[in-house]
Symmetry: C3
Subunit: 261 residues, 3 copies
């Protein structure tokens, strides 16, 4: 079975997501449609890129990831399809595939050509009229190159980079998850290279001491702040059984520093 996995910012209540699923079901009847999420914040391309990179590689090779967070729909931004390390990706060329492409060993990208779009493609719903048909084409075993000409300069988001100083690391909060955990852009590997053991370094958020790096939430009492190396191999700041973003008043962009005490 080939899976077509949808990720959008459409919500479900308006029927837009189901319209895409229906198009795939009609054009690729043997494919299985799965829904990763339709709850990406409206127009939040970075959140879409980030969520996608949590799961895309965990699906088997041949899976088609159909990803639409597309505030520029109908403008001159390209529609693209890509094969990255054996999985396929279809969506707008607006940076949605930034994290996937940056982690890629091997990637081929094409711009979906006009003739594939049909004369009646809506200028406001390419998810239904361009991306879903292209995803179904790939799910049926169609060749990526048949969708359009090669692209060598996909749009890449400027994701804030962490930096290493003499004896510390500086970064920032990249994302706040459902639990209110603050996911930073500081790689776990950098922390481990600092000497790594629990207690050797502390984490500061906007200048306030968040304590040492722990193993898991349960290492602190309920309600306490806990910094740890998260499941995406990035430094995270959480509150056990609570919401760190609300409790600490922090959001994307908040400054994070790790340094010896």
């Amino acid at each position: 079975v080939t899976r077509v996995v949808l990720l959008t910012d459409f919500g479900t209540a308006d029927g837009y997501a189901a319209a895409m699923a229906g198009v795939v079901a009609s054009a690729a009847p043997e494919a299985v449609v799965e829904h990763a999420s339709h709850e990406i914040g409206p127009g939040d391309i970075l959140a879409g890129a980030f969520a996608l990179s949590r799961y895309a590689h965990l699906y088997p090779p041949g899976t088609v990831h159909l990803v639409v967070v597309d505030p520029g729909v109908g403008t001159q931004r390209r529609a693209i399809a890509a094969t990255v390390d054996g999985r396929h990706f279809v969506g707008p060329d607006n940076g949605l595939f930034t994290c996937v492409l940056e982690g890629a060993r091997r990637a081929r990208i094409v711009a979906i050509h006009e003739s594939g779009r049909g004369p009646d493609a809506s200028p406001t719903f390419h998810g239904r009229d361009i991306f879903a048909p292209a995803a179904a084409f790939l799910a049926r075993g169609g060749a990526l190159e048949d969708l359009g000409p090669s692209v060598v300069d996909p749009h890449i988001l400027e994701v804030p980079r962490p930096e290493r100083l003499a004896d510390s690391v500086r970064g920032e909060v990249l994302q706040v998850d459902r639990f209110g955990s603050l996911v930073t852009n500081i790689p776990a590997s950098w922390i481990r290279e600092m000497g790594g053991a629990v207690g050797a370094v502390h984490v500061w958020l906007d200048g306030a001491d968040m304590g040492p790096i722990r193993r898991t939430y349960g290492d602190v009492p309920t309600g306490d702040v806990v910094a740890l190396l998260g499941s995406r191999d990035l430094l995270e700041i959480s509150v056990r059984d609570g919401n760190a973003a609300a409790r600490l008043g922090a959001d994307r962009g908040a400054a994070v520093e790790v340094r010896p005490v």
Copy 2:
């Protein structure tokens, strides 16, 4: 594969939607269950009817649409099943199928008879005890007529109609979508017949000028209002990268007029 596609106002957190899916899985093991949405506003039949009509026809013939927004559950309202242009529909006879039936070329409708309900059918959860079994029966290839006697007078909602005046068109906002876009009841075809070209007419919302009709969101600067012919072939009023409902303080029922400047 036959698909059974669920649409309800149940949310997912209470397990009601999964109960329906489980009943279908047990009664029609070869069918594929898909979830269009469970986020229709509680009891909002019109929103359910509207969402359903965005995607029902895009699924392949033979698909069973299992649709439950059912504030009158347990009363005398009928339970119905229908075959409309090759797709099946199961749900309460309360107007949920209004948009689907109005766009139909060919429709057969039956009232699901009591003997099919089982003696223990809950008077408050027909989704699980009546509609899901009927949907599974159709998914297994059962004949519509075997579910019950023919219905010729399905409940049809009074959807507000637009009107054509001498040199203008009047309608209203029918629905607000997740992005805050105001979807009106004015057909794109009427606008096109007015002379259609961009700039020939302006759109007024509650008497305020929303400007000409554009092609897509990107035709105005970020934050500006944009009127366009939406993906459902209806006039829509949006704010680029913003929320028109919040920005304009408009909701269902707001008056919309289109006329030459």
Copy 3:
């Protein structure tokens, strides 16, 4: 087809739920992944247990229920798998399976052993690294006993019990559902044994009279309170076309009494 049905408190927007689905898809390619819900309140084990018991038994034997509401992830709480009346269950041993186990005719439970976890299992995301692989193993037909040693003392939540007095029944609100209905812990069978017929007894919520027990919502006018025997065979208090929790200011734990007028 074997179904793996997910229930979590992860939401969908961060990609955690899709990560679990992707792991299952890779490890058990022939299995069908379904999503019951990812909208359980963060860390709300009781709500997860309650939702699960609404639908788990309705899926066909052989179904694997993968359930993760896991505030204690990474602590010493066990990871368990169980076979209960023909369906499989995988998740943390924190009480999530309380309702399923209490209703069981036959249950076998094992603690998932360490060697199955892989050396790189994240201490904060067992859903992806421990539970999803175990669920896929069972979906492929693996034997429960191969996952680890037998467990005879699963964690059981202290669910508040109703009590029978001389001529009345006392209980409390266990759960508030999406519609604002107050689901109590008082079994329908107890009410029926009291003489049961409509009008023979009234329901009191926090000392206020909610009236007699009706058959369905439509038995009272719109906006009125209605007590009835709900689809889960428990006493419920609702407001027709409204929200009882908001209207009555009641939440989990509110006292409920049923007694003759």
